[in-house]
């Protein structure tokens, strides 16, 4: 119905203009707090994209957001609003930590698959209860997942303080994982291929797992029966029942996949970066996942792009806050504006663009 503007304009032009608008307003905000927006932008771009070093961080953050974004997106396809990414990723971290600390792993090649299982299983477990309650008892998943974020934080707090913390350690964190559980960073991998890539950045092999998950989610959602049923259920529960699709089962599957994806984030931050489990290791990535999924229109490609954008903002903004007197909350404001303009106010741009194209068509 809506072929009022060419597809390229819809997919590229409108978001780019929206993004530009968001940056212009951000510039005004920077100006208002007495700093130089142009310098700030340069610093951000340089810090995030100007070197393989910057990329190492940008990709690290993006990896987190890909996982949580995909998690939210999969649930969205089943019309379930999973606000629980934060808690699921927290528990995923616990799964990773338990796996990594269980054995003196000889090689990451063995530890990684086990940790993937641990992360996915714990994440899925934390999504399973809200899913079951929604499917069987009609408890609203938005509330239960919010509640499970808080409960997850309590569980982790208890476990770290009382169970997994090495005696005498001040830090409510687990011991360091054995060296054999240390994942190769992008630097290591590039070096193996003879490419120079920033040392000491947290981006690691998990980025490729995230990319694989994008493909996997795409395949599941659009190329499997399960995905077909999830989408059908998400669009119309009545019709799904007519078609013989079991609502309970689909709710469970969708949320289990969603929770597992959120849990997998822990491979990146817990196993790949910190190499131990600390309190609050998720750092809000679960919530950013919501924005990422919404902006990415629940499509893996969109999620990937949105995650990269947020990775850029995170790293660029962090550089800004690290090396200037601009408070780090500026990043939050820029993020907010980007979400607002590209995600919620996109019609503000689309409408004039449509008019432009209509005018040209008539002429």
């Amino acid at each position: 119905m809506s072929e009022r503007i060419p597809k390229w304009a819809d997919v590229v032009l409108v978001p780019v203009i929206s993004l530009a608008l968001a940056f212009v307003i951000s510039g005004l905000v920077i100006l208002a707090i007495g700093e130089n927006p142009w310098e700030a932008l340069k610093l951000m771009v340089n810090g995030a994209l100007g070197s393989s070093y910057g990329w190492g961080f940008t990709l690290y953050y993006a990896t987190n957001f890909i996982f949580t974004g995909l998690a939210v997106a999969v649930a969205f396809h089943a019309s379930l609003f999973n606000i629980g990414g934060e808690g699921q990723a927290t528990l995923g971290g616990l799964g990773v930590a338990l796996v990594c600390l269980a054995l003196p792993w000889p090689h990451w090649g063995l530890a990684l698959p086990a940790a993937v299982l641990g992360a996915a299983a714990f994440g899925a477990l934390w999504a399973a209860v809200p899913a079951w309650l929604q499917a069987r008892r009609g408890s609203h998943i938005v509330i239960t997942t919010i509640m499970f974020n808080f409960i997850g934080a309590s569980v982790l707090n208890y476990v770290l303080v009382n169970v997994l913390r090495p005696v005498g350690s001040m830090d409510p964190a687990t011991a360091r994982f054995p060296p054999g559980a240390s994942l190769p960073t992008l630097h290591d991998m590039a070096a193996a291929l003879g490419i120079a890539w920033g040392r000491n950045t947290p981006a690691n092999i998990t980025f490729f797992i995230a990319l694989a998950c994008c493909v996997l989610v795409w395949a599941i959602i659009w190329h499997t029966r399960l995905g077909y049923q999830i989408r059908a259920f998400g669009k119309s529960e009545g019709a799904a029942r007519y078609a013989g699709i079991n609502p309970v089962r689909i709710t469970m599957y969708a949320m289990l996949i969603s929770g597992a994806l959120a849990g997998l984030m822990a491979i990146n931050n817990v196993m790949g970066e910190a190499e131990r489990l600390v309190l609050n290791s998720v750092e809000g990535a679960g919530f950013i996942g919501i924005a990422v999924a919404l902006m990415g229109r629940s499509h893996p490609v969109g999620v990937l792009l949105a995650a990269l954008l947020f990775g850029f903002l995170y790293q660029g903004g962090a550089e800004l806050a690290l090396w200037t007197t601009i408070p780090r909350e500026l990043i939050t404001v820029i993020q907010a504006l980007v979400i607002l303009f590209t995600g919620a106010l996109d019609n503000m741009v689309r409408m004039p663009v449509e008019r432009l194209f209509r005018g040209r068509g008539a002429a």
Binding site: R225, S236, Y242, A243, N246
Partner: protein, 518 residues
Amino acid sequence: MGARQQTERQATAAPAIELRAISKAFGPVQANKDISIRVERGTIHGIVGENGAGKSTLMSILYGFYRADAGEILIGGRPVQIPDSQAAIRAGIGMVFQHFKLVQNFTVLENVILGVEEGALLRPSLNKARRVLGDLAREYELDVDPDAAIEDLSVGHQQRVEILKALYRQADILILDEPTGVLTPDEADHLFRILASLRDQGKTIILITHKLREIMEITDAVSVMRRGEMVATLKTASTSPEELAERMVGRKVLLHVPKGPANPGRNVLEVENLRVVDAAGIERLRGIGLTVRAGEILGVAGVAGNGQSELLKVLGGFQRATGRVRVNGDDIDLTGRRSDGQTRRARGIAHVPEDRQALGLIMDFTAWENCAFGYHNAPEYQKNALFMDNAAMQADAQAKMERFDVRPPTATLAAKSFSGGNQQKIVLAREIERNPDLLLVGQPTRGVDIGAIEFIHKRLVALRDAGKAVLMVSVELEEILSLSDRIVVMFDGRIMGERLPDQTNERELGLLMAGVAA
């Protein structure tokens, strides 16, 4: 009488409504092209046209729901601007939309006063509305319980509420968009009596319908639309259904599908003592028993809401029930784990649901995805153990859509961008082409234009002639009478009686439907 002569005579007395050169585009779709029409005061004016011809759009413009891209509106000879519905209401126009604009969880009274409240507080408005509604009910036989919630009312009653809304706003000009699509013949007759008495009081009525019989019965004049254009305005007295049909579709149409005698075989469906209690504890089916044989169409007549929907849902596998159902002699699980649509389909039961938009289709899915809906587990749609074969599904859908003359035959379009008639064809194609032993079909032609009705009826008869069993639920008695080989009538969850179509008539069936044992 020539159209020119007619125009000359009307030029003297100002028509109630005159539209001049109205155009309206929805993006690339030109819904109305340069349309002009005059509607005389105190007449009932019919508008006919195929699905998507632009009838609803034109009327929505008149009612201020949409704004025309170009053109002029004159009411009583004076040009008026109708930028919104408030302006239309002020100009004395009321409209009953094809899809009702009622707030489902409000009471009748609340719906009636919405927008024309007397003051900031509700109570006085409600009191006044209760009084006025009482008067209107007496005057026009428009009874509804003023305190009932809309969601608890039958469609027929909901429509009455819509009419009451318009009358309460003292509309002089009443537009009804496909008002009889969901009514029983009795209710339709009742509606026409109301319309006639409204006309006799000098009100002007515009009636959009797909049923030419109704046009012939009640209208004074009729306009025919095709593909966004106005092709003719005729005096009803000087035209015929055949002529109208031809002008609408652009070709000759069979208004009655010819059908040979039935050749019934073994029992395909046997239902005994079927009972359903809904979530609110109300018994919806109270011991239904019936059989459908191979090679026959069993018509289930009844006023909507008397258990037909539940019957279809139980047989289709998405409503629990007690009792006994056998298909081809084998018992069917009605309550257990194997009581779902997938199992039913595996048993050779296909189902065209009553509500195609809410049940039969996923409106956001493409046509090709919809063409596999419910059969998505079928082996021919699988590439391997993991993946579905999207290409095969598309090819399959493309072929089905061409065979069922779905327009446009584009499998990649979303279901929601097809007109209702074409949506129905997609569902029918999916279910019939499965070559089921038993086809359950609810309201096969609701809201569908005559060209498509002809096609759908032909396909149902062909299925029967291929030796399949068809159970058809419809509120259209005409359809029931012309298609069925046997007819059962449902009332209040029970079967009131069984008749043969050539030994009964609309009147007798109507009585049974009203719960009066004949």
